[in-house]
Amino acid sequence: MADIADRASDAAPRAVPRRAVRLPESWFAWALIAPAMIFIGVIVAWPLVETFRLSLTDANLGGESYVGLENYRDLWESSRFAETVGRTFFWMVLSVSLKLILGLAGATLLNAAVPGRALFRILVMPPWVIPIAIGMIGWLWLYNGHFGLLSGVAQQIGLLDGPFEFLAYRNSAFYSAIVADVWVGTPMVTLFFLAAMQGVPKDLYEAAWVDGAGRWYRFRRITIPQIMPVIVSMALLSAIWTFNSFEIIWILTEGGPRGATTTLIIDTYKVAIANFKFGEGAARAVVIVILLALFSLIYLFFLNKVNRHYGSGKE
């Protein structure tokens, strides 16, 4: 840009009546970014560093003293923590898979050229628009054993022979929370898949259609490969969100019954905020940060591979 400006002013010197003093481009850029950088530095980066430091202490309401790696050793030796990590991954893999499958199915339906699809597209979005906490109030009622819809309907069609409190038993609470999590996450995934599908060049489909390829074949051989980079992106983003999801579980079960829905985030919150064991909580938070960093590296690796393999060549 500076080149163009210089060349232009050489060619037509009269066009520069009063030249303002200009910062070099990189100074100006950093001046524009600095406020956001500093703000995030104080509110996110500094607390992150502080989390690492706290994880090496036994900080609680009474004060703190340095304990080295003791918090981490405790976590390493705790079978309950190992269970929590395992549960978190199971939670994440199951929930993300369901979101991706439902999102793909939903996007395919919304992409079909049928009357009414504009309306359908709007109707898919509400779970994303409203606060999660409010959506969960709806699910609390649906899962209510005595008066809720799911238990009531299941009794009427004979699936259950008595009231069933979905959130009161270990297994049912876990899968109920998964369903609610999928409900929250599916609209966003659907929306991105739909946008990706609409970006696939029409002539690819037409060429295949002329050659006699059926719908399923076109879906498998054109749609999926073309939107693969978006699928990979959404898989990771969705994994991070699911891994981090707090409100859904906290409102439905607070991690219970007997720890059945306690994921890493819930465990960290319970230890640090509910029980004021800041040091032990910080160690858990560090474990989360490390796991999230690993995800991101894996993601970048796969995204590179996918982009090369499908030669998207668009960027």
Partner: protein, 280 residues
């Protein structure tokens, strides 16, 4: 033609769509039905979806059961509004820098910003609590606004950047050639052109800010008068028993502000949100 469906395929598509939408909308439909049913009807078994006694009584009684309800809704709107305004102040200059300027550490610093998206507040709550205490912000509106802004800046930069990249450079270059300062060019040339993008990003940030209040509210604020709706709603549970119909009525009333904004702007919003992810 290629896009034509046989009648049976159409039936299949609509049936599948019905199943999908039932899953998505069932909680809302049921919340609305519950809000209309009298309490003793809700507590009767066997379960009945329909009632002869539907009425809107809960929508007027809820203000008495939880006297601060109106305050909570206003708090939510106020917090989300402040978060949006502050976020945009940080996001606009930064997004412009990433869209247009060349400078050292450009992609590294953008990567760092986006890295913030990996965390939710939950990981950072302990030190964040101390930072807010040091700044004297605990138990104020700011305790919910400040972290809210921090976690929305990255997404805001990302969304606005991809919008600004689509604005033609020629006008800026013309202003620049005429000797306008960089800041003047940004204020008087770029921003007016970017108004549609600013609205989309602002709405996306507002929806995000409206949605994310629960965790910060229950952790950093103990003052009932400052509580936003998602936290205040649980007062319907705190009393002797749960007045479900009023809680649902209050929930639905409380989401009206965002739902209305969303319905008006959904077309632009959806295009704006996905533009960054899908390259043309």
């Amino acid at each position: 033609m290629m896009d034509r469906y046989t009648p049976w395929q159409l039936v299949g598509i609509y049936a599948a769509m019905a199943v999908f939408l039932t899953f998505i909308l069932l909680p809302f439909v049921e919340m609305f039905m519950v809000s209309l049913r009298p309490l003793d009807h809700l507590r009767s078994t066997p379960y009945r979806f329909w009632s002869e006694e539907f009425n809107f009584g809960a929508y007027s009684r809820m203000w008495e059961t939880v006297p601060l309800l109106g305050r909570y809704i206003l708090n939510s709107v106020y917090i989300a509004g402040m978060v949006t305004a502050l976020t945009m102040i940080f996001v606009i200059p930064a997004a412009y820098a990433y869209a247009r300027l060349q400078f050292p550490f450009k992609s590294l610093s953008l990567g760092l910003f986006l890295g913030v998206n990996m965390f939710t507040g939950a990981v950072l709550l302990i030190p964040l609590y101390r930072v807010l205490r040091t700044l004297g912000l605990l138990n104020t509106y700011w305790a919910m606004i400040v972290p809210g802004v921090a976690f929305l800046i990255p997404t805001g930069i990302w969304l606005l950047r991809s919008y600004l990249e689509k604005i033609p450079r020629e006008l800026e270059e013309a202003a620049y050639v005429d000797g306008a300062s960089r800041l003047y060019t940004l204020r008087r040339v770029v921003l007016p052109l970017a108004v549609p993008g600013l609205i989309v990003v602002g709405v996306a940030v507002f929806i995000g800010a409206y949605a994310q209040q629960f965790l910060f509210a229950i952790t950093f604020n103990q003052v009932r008068e400052y509580q936003p709706l998602p936290a205040g709603l649980f007062e319907f549970i705190g009393y002797q028993d749960v007045t479900w119909n009023e809680m649902m009525a209050a929930s639905l009333t409380g989401v009206l502000p965002v739902m209305i904004i969303f319905l008006f702007l959904q077309k632009y919003l959806v295009a704006g949100l996905t533009a960054g992810a899908v390259k043309e």
